[in-house]
Symmetry: C2
Subunit: 246 residues, 2 copies
């Protein structure tokens, strides 16, 4: 299809816009190997950026077979209620993966953590993974599955005490690696962790190519992105980390 479009649009965008995609498809994987299977678990009520950030990097990497999997192929709504999305695979059809990545969300985290079918699948597929990862409160799902017991891990700063309730130890880092468990901080941190993860699995060049493709050269105009750098008035306005049970 793309090759038929050669500056035929009214202003010739076709071939130029298609080219970066064609380049991505044509690049060979760094090493000759079977594709790396990466499964992102979707469920109702996810925080969109938690999984769209990693997705936007991962789907551009040759040699990665990316799957968005959920219990059903129903249309789900994001935590805000605004965005409708749909998985493109069913978890019951997936019995192994190289990487499992679990995004966070609001109330959806509680609901999915109480869903025996999804949590059983998380435990089973984790037993096959090279890396099991989370973004934001996705760590609370992994913790609830019993996978982070006794481990250092991270999550959204506001929910840090919930990790302790499940036997993990909260670490205030952008992402934390402990054995095969990679956890990242709130919402936007999945971008940084995913770059590191691509570098770890496929080499730094693949990670850097993906970074350049999404022009991830962040320049936030303010420095309020973490609890430790945000001005006190901003922290007070947003609210302190929630207490844990204990």
């Amino acid at each position: 299809m793309r090759n038929h479009v050669r500056r035929r649009g009214l202003f010739g965008l076709g071939a130029l816009l298609a080219a970066p995609l064609a380049i991505a498809a044509a690049s060979a994987p760094a090493k000759t190997m079977a594709p790396l299977k990466v499964v992102i678990l979707l469920y109702p009520g996810t925080t969109m950026l938690d999984w769209v950030g990693p997705y936007e990097l991962l789907h551009r990497v040759p040699g990665i077979d990316l799957v968005l999997a959920a219990k059903t192929r129903d249309f789900y709504r994001s935590d805000s209620g605004m965005v409708v999305y749909q998985a493109n695979a069913l978890i019951r059809d997936i019995d192994r993966t190289d990487v499992l990545l679990v995004p966070g969300g609001g109330m959806g985290v509680r609901d999915v953590s109480n869903d025996a079918e999804v949590m059983g699948w998380v435990r089973r597929v984790d037993a096959t993974s090279r890396i099991t990862a989370s973004v934001c409160t996705g760590a609370l799902i992994l913790a609830r599955a019993g996978l982070l017991r006794g481990r250092p891990a991270t999550t959204h700063w506001a929910l840090q005490n919930m990790l302790g309730d499940q036997g993990a130890t909260y670490v205030d880092e952008r992402w934390v690696v402990n054995d095969k468990y990679w956890t990242s901080a709130g919402v936007s941190a999945g971008l940084d962790m995913t770059l590191a993860l691509i570098g770890h699995l496929l080499g730094e060049a693949e990670a850097m190519k993906a970074q350049l493709k999404i022009q991830y050269d962040p320049k936030p105009p303010f420095h309020a992105g973490s609890w430790s750098t945000a001005p006190a008035a901003i922290r007070e306005a947003v609210g302190a980390p929630m207490p844990g049970r204990s």
Copy 2:
């Protein structure tokens, strides 16, 4: 609904996860004013992060009325073909906005730029806006609508020469402001521009609160996110900026 959930889940996540949302809803806008209407234009083939980044900040800001609008409420597929999404408003029902934000995409940019109904709407609603903004190749849609003629602007580095074809001047910055036209660089740059935009419209405190909520404290493990910082071998592997027509 949320107030009924008080540590009733098996591990008490309910109230804690609901709390950040409740805080967001309870915070008063910085000033007493009508809500600021922000319309994100969706179309088939968008790059997900282009609009999910801005959305993830904007929907958390009290005093912003965020709308995801498209020509139809059909289910569209992202540029990768992987993600299915749906607008929650129709452009024909929107005759004004405070902010219009246009994300980029692959072939979808060409197609929407050739859609007279959508492009006519972009011009009409732009005539009512305080700010008209773009992320990534969304700038090419604004340029095609004739809105960037004679202006400095930015877009994805790979398509920078296309801006010149439409009478704009490419600037290699994270985002560029010229009169009411705000354009940002590729894919991930919408996060930075949106923070600046919230700060401009509602004050720095509102922007910083949104930044803290999504924990946007970026720490990319590599420095390959822009054409000027990426190693030469990475630039060569990804490919040079596309030539323009002229």
